[in-house]
Structures are given as C-alpha cells and as structure tokens.
C-alpha cells in the first residue's frame, strides 16, 4: 500500500509455519511482502486479521485457504485449491491457477488474472470466483451458492450438478454438465457481473454479453421410482 512500509518475510530463510505464525501475530492494517515463495504450499492460511499480504512469486497449494479477513495478492502462478474455504477477504492471483480454485469458499473474492485449471469454484458455498481467462473442465461442479465469472472460455461439463450458485461466461462453453442450463440475462445479472469484474480488476468483461448458467433443478430430488430401475 502506498505510504506504508511493508514488513518483509522470506520463505528462503523461514519455514511456512514460521511465516504463518508471524502473519498471525501482526495487527490489523499491517502490510506484508513475502519474498521467495518458491512454490511452497499453505502460505497465508487460516488468517483472521485485516492484513495486506503480497506473495512475491509462484506459489504452491492451498494459498490463502481458510482465511477470514486478509487481502492476499500473488505475483505469479498458484497450485491447487487457492482460496479454499475462504470466508471473507480477497485473493488475487496475477498468473495462472491450477485446479480447484476457490473450492468451497463461503465468502470473499478469489480473482485469477490468468487461466484457471479444472474444477474452479467446485462446491462453492457463497464466495465469488472470478477468472479473467479460461476455466478448466468440471468448473462450478456442485456449487451451492455464490458467483463464478469466467472471462474466457469454459471447458467441458461446466456447472455439473449445480445448486444455487450462478455462473457467467464471457467466452465459449465447450459443454454443460448434467442439470446445468443457460438462463436469460437480466438487469440484475448485468449489475452483478459489472460489480464482480470491477472488484476483480478486470476491464475486458462485457457484462451484457455474458452467458448465464444456472441449475435446471432436475436433480434436486431423487426419484426412487424413476423408470422403475431402483
């Protein structure tokens, strides 16, 4: 943040546990820069303080998972499950993300400025997952609540077994998953997409032109007598 001197931590001379303990001890409003992440897993997890954290490079699995408050920026690539089970705050990745971006996130924003791999937003429970580029297959699988915005293309089986979460796609959709369907875009949707794009820092989203995907709700109730097969 401008005007504030960042506290420097480095994964070159600290273990991930030491880094996370140091982060936990800092007061709200602290600005921290974590140097040389070197692909380590579990950096900045389980934090509840209002911290401003920058991870200066490519990082590993579960970055900023289980957090409830901090704003985390990654200057690079992240491995699996970035922002997993996020409660509030934000995670911004200036690179590509591996699988399961924002898995089960209950709140907050996970913004990927590159592409996200398979299963982005899987089992989303209320958080917002915004991807500037493409998303891999099975994205939005069983997502229960929240919003997924994909600026680029979506791969196969988008929104399979979707519950109440809503998916917006700027590009092409290779295929929809079971029980996912295209829905009409209303003014509230356009407002929401613009809001998510603005929060994520995306300038390339044309909110009026996205495709909206919702649940067809045909899998909500199990029919034991269906076709008398059971």
């Amino acid at each position: 943040m401008a005007g504030l001197t960042a506290i420097e931590l480095s994964c070159a001379d600290m273990t991930v546990r030491q880094v996370n303990q140091a982060l936990r001890s800092l007061p709200d409003g602290s600005v921290i820069r974590i140097a040389e992440p070197r692909g380590r897993h579990n950096i900045a997890v389980g934090l509840t303080g209002r911290l401003d954290i920058t991870i200066a490079g490519n990082a590993g699995y579960f970055i900023a998972g289980l957090c409830d408050g901090p704003d985390v920026t990654v200057e690079g690539f992240v491995g699996w499950s970035v922002g997993e089970n996020l409660m509030s705050g934000s995670v911004r990745v200036h690179g590509n993300a591996s699988e399961c971006t924002g898995a089960s996130a209950r709140g907050g924003l996970i913004a990927i400025h590159g592409d996200a791999s398979s299963r982005a937003g899987i089992s989303l429970k209320g958080g917002t997952v915004a991807i500037a580029g493409d998303a891999g297959h099975m994205s939005g699988f069983m997502a229960q609540a929240g919003t997924i915005l994909i600026g680029g293309d979506a791969a196969d089986s988008l929104g399979d077994s979707l519950y109440e979460a809503v998916i917006y796609v700027g590009g092409k959709i290779r295929s929809l998953g079971s029980d996912a369907q295209v829905a009409e875009l209303g003014p509230d949707d356009v407002r929401l997409v613009n809001e998510v794009a603005r929060d994520a820092g995306f300038s390339h989203i044309s909110a009026e032109d996205v495709t909206k995907i919702v649940s067809a709700k045909q899998l909500y109730n199990f029919d034991a007598l269906k076709d008398q097969k059971y």
Binding site: F77, G79, S98, D115, S117
Partner: protein
C-alpha cells in the same frame, strides 16, 4: 501419490548442467514418493552407429570383468566400451538395438537391462531421490533432456525392477503418476500378441503398449492417443523419446502436473515446488496442462 519430473534443454549452453538441475527437482519430489527413484538421462555421447545399454547388476560387487569377457567372446568382434556407474554399468556397443538386448540376456540373465538406445541411460533403485541420485552421480551428468520419477508404490512391490522409468524400446522411457485399473486386461492382450514383460507393474504395461504402437509406425502423439482410448484409470504420464518428450493426463486430471517454459528449457513436474530452483523460472510461462490433451516438445 508419486512424483514425476522432466527437463528438456533448448539452450545447449545448459547441457553440461542437466544433472545438476534435475537432481534438486527429484529431491523435492521425494515427499511424494520415498520408495524408489529413477531417472532417464539423454546424452548423445556415444560414437555414431553404437547403442548404449543401461545394465543393473544383481548385487553389489558384481563381477563386471567376467561379464565383459563373456560378452566380448559372444559379440563377435563388436566394439564394446564399458562405463561403470555405481553398482551398475552402461555398455556402449556397436551391436544395435535389434540384437543387443537378446545378446546381453544370454550373457547373464540376472543382469537386468533398464534402458537402451543411442542417447538414453537409465538409473533406478529403491530409496529416496537424494540417495539414489548420489549413488549414480546423476548431478554430474550432462545431456539434453531427462525424465525422473519418485515412487510411492500402490499396486506392485517396491523393488529396483518395479521402479520407474520403464524404458522398453530404443530411447523410449515412461514415468507414471497414478494407477491403471484395466492393465491386467491390456497386458493379456499384449502377451497374446507376443509382447514380453519384466514385471507385474501397471506402468510397464503402458510403456510396452506405447513401444508396440511405435514399432508399428505410430508416432509418440498417436501412441498416447491410443493410451487414452485403451487404458482406464488415473494417469499423468511423461514419456520421452530421443529428442522429444510428451505429457498426457486422463480425463479426470486428478494427478497433478505443472509446466514451466522459458527460452532455455521446458520443465515439467508434479508440483511447482520442484521447479523453484531452475534458473529464470520466475519469468517462465507456468501452467497446468489440460486433461486429455497431448503436449509434446522437441529438443
């Protein structure tokens, strides 16, 4: 679990440093597979018209002098060069890959052939990466590409023979993270077609399948397309030929893989953490390969 890693150098200036770059990658991946470790190193250092044979001794202190004497007597004046590598050895021979494996098996069947071809050398054994690599001096080896594997065994025994890579035809090597579920059926089909196996390992079946397809004229990409059709189960595969390597992931893509490409090299590994020590990797294009897509690179 298992860890896989590969490095293909585009910049010949880095060739002397191949081993030095690859060993830390495997060392990091030991946490994904501490049971056994293996590496296929590709270096074109043998005279034209010769083939390199990577031989594994049945025990420490094996009588290589006796083996060589018997080989020279049997090889009918062929050029033979002996390069000891720890307990094991590489033999450079003017006898080609069509006759070489049979000739060597006839000398002493307890000496196992782990790889052969104009550039490939295969080193593998039980133990964690740092230990196995140190045993063979992998860090000191130069070359243009290498693939490696750290194994956490799930479906067959932990032995030297069951370690990856599986290098069953000239200059071809395969490492696998995952588990095939229908490999017994595929193996039966291959055996019926005359293919012979060294182990009961599931990954060897994929290596033999690819070798058979390529022997029948398929290129590496075609053979991997065949793998996707024929094999069921979980897999991220890294397969290398003399100057190329390829990766493919099954349709679920639950076995990880990260690619980092710069002007100097292409590096792939199960986790980015294995790539973190490579020069200039912070500037690399880093991404996870898509399921059911075949990615290939040529050195």
């Amino acid at each position: 679990m298992c860890g896989i890693a590969g490095l293909q150098l585009k910049n010949p200036g880095l060739y002397p440093r191949l081993g030095e770059l690859v060993v830390p990658m495997l060392d990091v991946l030991a946490s994904r597979g501490p049971d056994s470790t293996g590496v296929a190193v590709y270096r074109s250092d043998a005279p034209a018209g010769t083939c390199k044979y990577s031989l594994c001794a049945p025990r420490d202190g094996y009588d290589w002098a006796g083996y060589l004497a018997a080989l020279e007597a049997a090889a009918g004046g062929a050029h033979i060069e002996f390069r000891p590598q720890g307990r094991d050895a590489v033999i450079v021979m003017s006898t080609g890959s069509d006759r070489g494996p049979e000739l060597l098996a006839g000398i002493d069947p307890s000496v196992r052939l782990f790889g052969f071809g104009s550039a490939i050398e295969v080193y593998k054994d039980v133990g964690a990466a740092a230990e196995v690599c140190a045993r063979y001096g992998v860090a000191e080896m130069g070359g243009h590409q290498a693939i490696g594997h750290t194994r956490m065994a799930t479906e067959s025994a932990v032995t030297t023979e069951h370690s990856h890579p599986f290098a069953v035809s000239p200059d071809l090597a395969l490492v696998h993270n995952g588990s095939f579920s229908n490999y017994a059926s595929v193996r039966r089909t291959l055996i019926a077609g005359g293919v012979r196996f060294d182990t009961d390992n599931d990954s060897e079946v994929a290596a033999r399948y690819i070798a058979r397809e390529m022997a029948a004229g398929a290129d590496l990409t075609d053979a991997l397309r065949g793998v996707m059709k024929v094999f069921d189960g979980f897999f991220t595969l890294l397969v290398s030929a003399e100057r190329s390597f390829a990766i493919v992931r099954d349709s679920f893509a639950c076995k990880p893989m990260v690619v980092a490409e710069t002007a100097d090299y292409v590096a792939v590994a199960s986790e980015y953490i294995a790539l973190a020590d490579l020069p200039g990797v912070d500037k690399a294009d880093v991404f996870e390969p898509m399921p059911e897509e075949i990615y290939t690179w040529q050195a």
